[in-house]
Amino acid sequence: MELIIQNLSKTYPNGVKALNDISLTIQQGMFGLLGPNGAGKSTLMRTIATLQDADSGSVFLDDLDVLHDKQKLREKLGYLPQDFGLYPRITAEVMLDHIAQMKGVINKSERKDLVNSLLNKVNLFKDRKKALGTFSGGMRQRFGIAQALAGNPSLIIVDEPTAGLDPSERNRFYNLLSELGENTIVILSTHIVEDVSTLCSQMAIICLGEVLMQGKPSDGIKELEGQIYQKSIAKEDLSQYKGQFDVISTQLKEGKLSLRIKSETEPGSGFVPTVTNLEDVYFSYISQKVDPITL
């Protein structure tokens, strides 16, 4: 199973070019879409989830034309949006049952088992008879995950899924996703690098509507192996270093400014080589488009 996105473009009426000739090939398994806020991730997610049309380009799930055969795609889709609401006066149990029905689980007892098992998986079984309006943010997010998984979808899109979850909830979520079946494409759209590094076998980096990199996380790291250097500096000297080196990220560590640069050769000046991580890969691509300096 393959999701092929070709030359997808979208400009909003206010002039914002959200997707700029995007092409991606996504195989089965976990695919991480990494990018800063405003990169176009949600636009891309919504387009695949049949909520929006594109100006040009195509999206094919095997031979299913996603942009023009929306209903057929919806039969296979599980979607966890970035921001969503629920009917406040309906209980979790009733709502999930309803959603399962909407996802084609027609058999009543089959549905009941499915609902109970899903709620249990996201640790909401004991809250199943409470009205959704009483749920905290984290509980709502977990419910969202449950409904995305209902009906055995083969294409699952999760948009910023770990927002609002505490560390243990996040781990639980990682475990849940990793249990997903073989013949499933999961697109995980996030700005949290750890999500991708933990779960995804493939990834892409998107910024300002363009794909900057696509491939395996390990390949990305290998590419930058040995090119990342680190040094602690004084804040006032930053602009000086910016002029001289290819600065990809800055961070405050123990009150001092920690600079990471990319350099194919030994930079000297007190820089120490460090182990490349996925964050470095991310920042090195992003910095080509936007200023990564956080000061």
Binding site: R46, G85, Y87, M102, V105, I106, N116
Partner: protein, 1218 residues
């Protein structure tokens, strides 16, 4: 202090940056502007639209809506900080609670007050522009006086905003929940309406005035009797009850304010609450099933099952909504109350007959349903979007059509519940009241076949609007706007064509006698029309349905265009076609078969009639002397054929060469002379009817000028025949068509008239000016006018005639006309009745035909003559037959004894359906409406037996109106109506006692005073009575008081003498009001002649009141009462301007009373210890009176309110005993 100013200024700046502030101001401005500019005020024609009374009245009403505004504006300022969590910053600032609290409150309050000034500006500019542009005539506006605008704002609006504002501000502080504000506003509004409704029945008006927090009742009560003159000049001063009310409730507001201030603190209000975790009950452990493998199935059944599931969850969403429940509860409470109390006449309710109950659903309940439908249709359609659920639900593989249909089905289901709710409530009310004739079929037909389609149509319109508007609030505003246009604006623009007003149908009413009758036909066609049209709207505008995250108009428009070719749009066109087809049928029926005219066209035609034919007004025309009527009634077809053989005589001194005959109720009439139809000319030329788009309308020739083959010389006699019919085809734009119905025909429309009829002219001066006609003097000719003296008031077409009739109808019905039944037979499947009236009667008759049960009884007159009493009634209406009978028996004997022998050998009552609510007295025949007492509930012994009273009134007309036939001069109608009202009052008093009359007389006084405050031309003195409120209400009061002064014998002698001279007088001069006055004067002592002068020739009022009443015990059950009274007589002019009279003193009752108790029948009884007339001079008078027998409890001047007094309640006070 600086902090306070900062917050205060911020609040104001914030408010003025919000469009809502301007929207509220603009709304108030626009409403006031439209009302005043367009002249849509309750001001009668002699009152200026911008008179101080009207200005104050509008401000007072708007301030009630201001309460809703106050909830929106005052509930929010502090909550804003809670909702957006900016309140948490407040902890860290060096801000005092006082500065914050005061700043937020006063800032918002100032803005609220600013918004309410919108009304003042609207009224002012509306008046200016209205007059300047000629939208409303300039003379309807008076001078612009600033204080007229400002004073009511200061005394009514400002305190109301203070009360509501402090209430809502306190509410948000105590509850910390914004929902309490939204629901609080609505609850307060509904509770206020509810309590105002209840307050109508409360005797203690002072209490009502003080308890009304918004002083609306206070204002209305204080101004209810203002005459036109006073309305133009009177500003309600801040004193008495109004002042007290304002002080009490402003203090209440202060209390709210102080309580809120005391309760508020930053910690209390803004701190996050830790939600207490409920102790978890024994938890159900999750049992994992052996296998959870699901196989989604999207085949055939899926869309259908999804439709069901979506509809169910939507219904669930609506039914669980707290607003839905509270509005529905409010509606149900009002419904139960309306069912329970229903319509009262003279404060008496009817039995809860199902036919009558159906009418009450439309009083308040339908308003609540309307609010629910408008609001929740919008909520439903936008629910997914507003809740944020649509990003999930739009990705489900359900078709767009399924999503939309599920919303519609859910609303259809909820409105079905709303339509059915009245059924159990009605059944319960009926059962509690001990009435078990449920007639379930009426409930079901009304709820399911009439009301439910109505509700569905409303849903469809709102549904379509919300499909177009993607923004929920814009959709709400647009829906409300559409309904305001349909329900209000069109009416104000005088557009009443029912086919233009979505979901409107011609009104209908259930009758026990006639069921739904022919009215079902128009209901069916209009329901078909509107339902088809509604479905077209919904299906067509579904092309704008939004799915997905692209909600801007450009993409929706693109998608809509794509959807234009879909099968749903094609289906919508099918419904449009059905709508057009049924619309064409309705149009044909309303416009062509029933001659629809717009309101303005109708006015113009009346003006044309006057302009073109007025010169015929006094041409000589013959009078009828004998009538032979053949009437054939076909109730099922609602058709009747008439043949009248008339003998006419030229009673004038001039020759007559043509007959002018007219009838605008008959469908056709032809005049035959010698068996041949006479040629005629139709002399009127009208403009083409606006709605006659096919140009094929045939104007009815309702006025015919027929040249006679031979001129009639003075004294000549002629025989002519009138061939006429009444045909009903289809249904009209409005109106019940009550003359001819399946069961309960009652028509007097079959007599064509001679000559020009003045009563067909336009009477409103304002309307006349629009058509260049001068003002109309509605006074009849003077008392000594020759034409007036020799013509009768009820008809100038004849004096007295001889009458004979043969009437045929369906075999199961009885037909009745005035006269004695000679023979009854059946022929060719029709039933025939032959009546002869063997003594001369006046020229107005009725034909009645229905399926009756007849009660036959007899009365014996003082001279031994027997009178047959016949009561023709609907089978089930046997509740009050004894009362009709008693009134006839008592009255026939009493009136024959006191006035003159009853002139007939029979007296009959005929029930007719409740399409009209009156009773009318024909010779020995009284048709009496179904709703006028047949099902009244008199179980309370204190209730006023109005069946007895009205029957007595109609019986008295056999003397006053039939034996005495009034002439055609000004005021003469009082010798018919005032005497009938008086005679009925005396007869009822004899049966029920003086005390039972008190409430009735008080109501008569109230009606007289209200009537004169609504006068649109001028109020006449009693002798020239020309309005109902004068000849009925003032007549009863004047004659009852006179009888009290001169005694029964004197009045009865006067009336006996009057009837002696003029009774059954067949030749002119006929009697008028001055003749009655002459006889009354004859029997009134000279010392009381001033009273006749005051009550008959002038408009006289008294300001009587007790200043103080104290009593001292002087012995065993003996007391000396010291009473200080104040009295002043006033004379008013025709517009209500009063001047004090100058006089020595008048005779007024002074009364002292012991405690009230109940008599053997359970009726209230007053116990006077002393009641005597004293000559009281104007100003204050102190009296000392000895009483014995019991403790004096109350004392008063004119305690029985026999004299006209605008403040009747201060005539009696409690006595303080020392």
């Amino acid at each position: 202090m600086q902090d306070f100013w900062n917050i205060f200024k911020f609040e104001i700046r914030y408010r003025f940056s919000r469009p809502a502030t301007y929207a509220y101001f603009g709304m108030l401005f626009a409403i006031a502007f439209l009302l005043f500019g367009g002249g849509f005020t309750p001001a009668s024609e002699k009152v200026y639209h911008n008179s101080p009374y009207v200005i104050a009245s509008l401000q007072s009403i708007i301030s009630i809506f201001g309460v809703l505004l106050a909830s929106a504006i005052m509930g929010v300022p502090i909550y804003r900080d809670l909702e957006h969590k900016t309140g948490t910053f407040m902890f860290s600032y060096p801000l005092t609670k006082t500065a914050y609290f005061m700043g937020r409150f006063w800032g918002s309050f100032v803005v609220l007050l600013f918004i309410t000034t919108g009304v003042m500006f609207g009224m002012y500019f509306g008046s200016l522009i209205g007059a300047a542009t000629g939208w409303t005539e300039a003379e309807r506006y008076g001078p612009h006086v600033l204080v007229n605008y400002i004073q009511p704002w200061l005394t009514l609006v400002l305190p109301n905003m203070w009360i509501a504002g402090t209430l809502f501000f306190a509410l948000i502080i105590f509850t910390r929940n914004i929902k309490s504000i939204y629901s609080g506003g609505i609850v307060l509004f509904i509770a206020y309406l509810f309590s105002s409704f209840l307050a109508q029945d409360i005797e203690n008006k002072d209490l009502v005035q003080l308890l009304d927090p918004f002083a609306l009742n206070t204002f209305n009560y204080e101004t209810r009797y203002l005459t036109p003159f006073e309305q133009n000049t009177f500003v309600l001063p801040l004193q008495g009850n109004l002042l007290l009310n304002r002080v009490i409730w402003s203090l209440a507001g202060l209390l709210f304010f102080v309580a809120a201030y005391w309760k508020f603190s930053f910690t209390y209000f803004f701190q996050e609450r830790i939600k207490g975790t409920k102790k978890s009950e024994k938890e159900e452990a999750y049992q994992a099933p052996s296998q959870v493998k699901v196989f989604p199935d999207f085949s055939g059944k899926y869309q259908w099952l999804s439709l069901v599931a979506l509809s169910k969850i939507e219904v669930s969403n609506i039914l669980k909504d707290i607003y839905f429940r509270s509005i529905l509860l409010g509606g149900a409470i009002f419904l139960a109350l309306d069912f329970w109390i229903g319509n009262t006449l003279y404060s008496v309710s009817n039995f809860p007959v199902t036919s009558f109950l159906m009418e009450f659903k439309g009083f308040d309940y339908s308003l609540f349903v309307f609010i629910i439908i408008v609001f929740f249709t919008g909520e439903s359609i936008h629910r997914s979007q507003s809740s944020g659920y649509s990003v999930i639900s739009d990705t489900f593989p359900v078709k767009d059509s399924v999503l939309l249909t599920s919303k519609f089905l859910a609303l259809a289901g909820v409105t079905l519940i709303l339509a059915l709710i009245p059924i159990p409530i009605g059944l319960i009310v009926q059962t509690i009241k001990g009435y078990f004739t449920y007639e379930l079929q009426i409930y079901l037909i009304d709820s399911l076949l009439i009301t439910y389609p109505d509700y569905l149509q409303m849903v469809m319109l709102v549904f379509a609007v919300h499909l177009i508007f993607n923004n929920k609030f814009a959709g709400h505003a647009a829906s409300i706007g559409v309904w305001v246009v349909i329900g209000l604006v069109l009416d104000l623009a005088k557009v009443n064509f029912t086919m233009f007003k979505f979901s409107y149908k011609p009104s209908y009413i259930w009758s026990d006698m006639n069921g739904l009758g022919h009215l079902g036909k128009s209901l069916f066609w209009f329901n078909l029309y509107w339902t088809a049209f509604g479905l077209f709207l919904v299906l067509f505008f579904s092309i704008f349905f939004t799915r997905g995250s692209e909600t801007n108009f450009a993409s929706r428009w693109k998608v809509a265009k794509q959807r234009l070719g879909s099968p749903i749009v094609k289906l919508s066109l099918v419904f449009l076609f059905i709508a057009l087809g049924s619309g064409a049928f309705i149009y044909q029926s309303v416009v062509y078969d029933n001659g629809y005219l717009t309101i303005r066209e109708g006015e113009k035609r009346s003006a044309d009639y006057e302009k073109q034919l007025k010169h015929y007004q006094f041409i000589p025309q013959p009078k009828v002397v004998s009538v032979f009527l053949s009437a054939d009634i076909y109730p099922e077809e609602r058709k009747a054929d008439f043949k009248l053989d008339l003998t006419i005589v030229n009673k004038t001194d001039s020759p007559i060469d043509s007959l002018h005959m007219h009838s605008n109720s008959l469908s056709n009439f032809d005049i035959l002379y010698d068996g041949k139809a006479l040629d005629y000319r139709f002399p009127l030329s009208y403009d083409k009817r606006k709605f006659d788009i096919l140009n094929k309308y045939e104007q009815k020739h309702w006025y015919k000028i027929l040249p006679l083959p031979q001129t009639m010389q003075p004294g000549d006699t002629l025989q002519i025949q009138v061939l006429a019919n009444l045909v009903n085809k289809g249904f009209p734009n409005s109106g019940y068509g009550r003359d001819l119905v399946h069961n309960g025909t009652f028509t007097s429309a079959f007599l064509p008239s001679f000559g020009y009829n003045e009563s067909l002219e336009l009477s409103s001066d304002e309307t006349r000016r629009k058509y260049d006609l001068g003002p109309k003097d509605t006074d009849l000719p003077k008392h000594d006018d020759p034409f007036g003296l020799r013509n009768l008031l009820f008809s100038q077409d004849a004096d007295f005639v001889s009458f004979e009739a043969i009437v045929s109808t369906s075999p199961n019905q009885i037909a009745v006309v005035p006269g004695y039944l000679q023979k009854e037979w059946t022929e060719n499947g029709r039933r025939y009745f032959h009546y002869i009236q063997d003594t001369p009667i006046q020229y107005f008759f009725s034909v009645v035909s229905a399926d009756y049960e007849v009660l036959l009884e007899e009365a014996t007159l003082p001279d031994g003559q027997k009178v047959a009493i016949e009561i023709y009634h609907h089978q089930r209406h046997t509740f009050n037959l004894d009362r009709f009978l008693a009134a006839y028996k008592d009255g026939l004997v009493y009136f024959s004894e006191k006035y003159s022998p009853f002139q007939f050998r029979q007296m009959r009552i005929l029930e007719f359906p409740r399409y009209a609510g009156f009773a009318q007295s024909f010779p020995n025949t009284v048709p009496f409406s179904e709703s006028f007492g047949w099902v009244a509930d008199f179980s309370d012994p204190n209730s006023f037996d109005y069946v007895y009273f009205v029957t007595a009134h109609e019986l008295a007309h056999q003397w006053w109106g039939h034996q005495i036939a009034p002439n055609y001069t000004r005021g003469s109608n009082l010798i018919s109506e005032a005497l009938a009202e008086y005679s009925a009052l005396i007869l009822t008093e004899r049966a029920y006692g003086k005390d039972n009359m008190k409430r009735f007389l008080k109501d008569e006084l109230d009606r007289y005073l209200r009537g004169r405050s609504n006068e649109s031309k001028k109020e006449n003195a009693f002798i020239n009575a020309d309005r109902g409120y004068i000849w009925y209400q003032k007549g009863a009061l004047v004659l009852y008081a006179l009888r009290d002064y001169i005694g029964d014998e004197a009045i009865d002698s006067a009336l006996k003498g009057f009837v002696g001279e003029f009774g059954l007088k067949e030749h002119p001069p006929f009697p008028g009001s001055s003749d009655l006055l002459r006889y009354l004067t004859m029997h009134t002592p000279d010392s009381m002649h001033y009273f006749l002068e005051d009550t008959w020739q002038k408009i006289t009022l008294y300001e009587n009141k007790v200043v103080d009443a104290a009593a001292e015990k002087t012995g065993d059950e003996e007391y000396l009462v010291t009473l200080t009274v104040s009295s002043q007589k006033l004379y008013a002019d025709s517009l209500g301007r009063e001047t004090p009279a100058i006089y020595e003193g008048d005779y007024l009752d002074i009364g002292i009373f012991a405690k009230e108790d109940k008599d053997e029948n359970g009726r209230n009884r007053t116990n006077p210890l002393y009641i005597q007339k004293h000559k009281i001079s104007p100003g204050e008078t102190k009296l000392q009176i000895k009483v014995k027998g019991a403790v004096p409890v109350k004392a008063g001047i004119d305690p029985y309110n026999k004299l006209i007094d605008r403040i009747p309640d201060d005539n009696v006070v409690n006595v303080t005993v020392n």
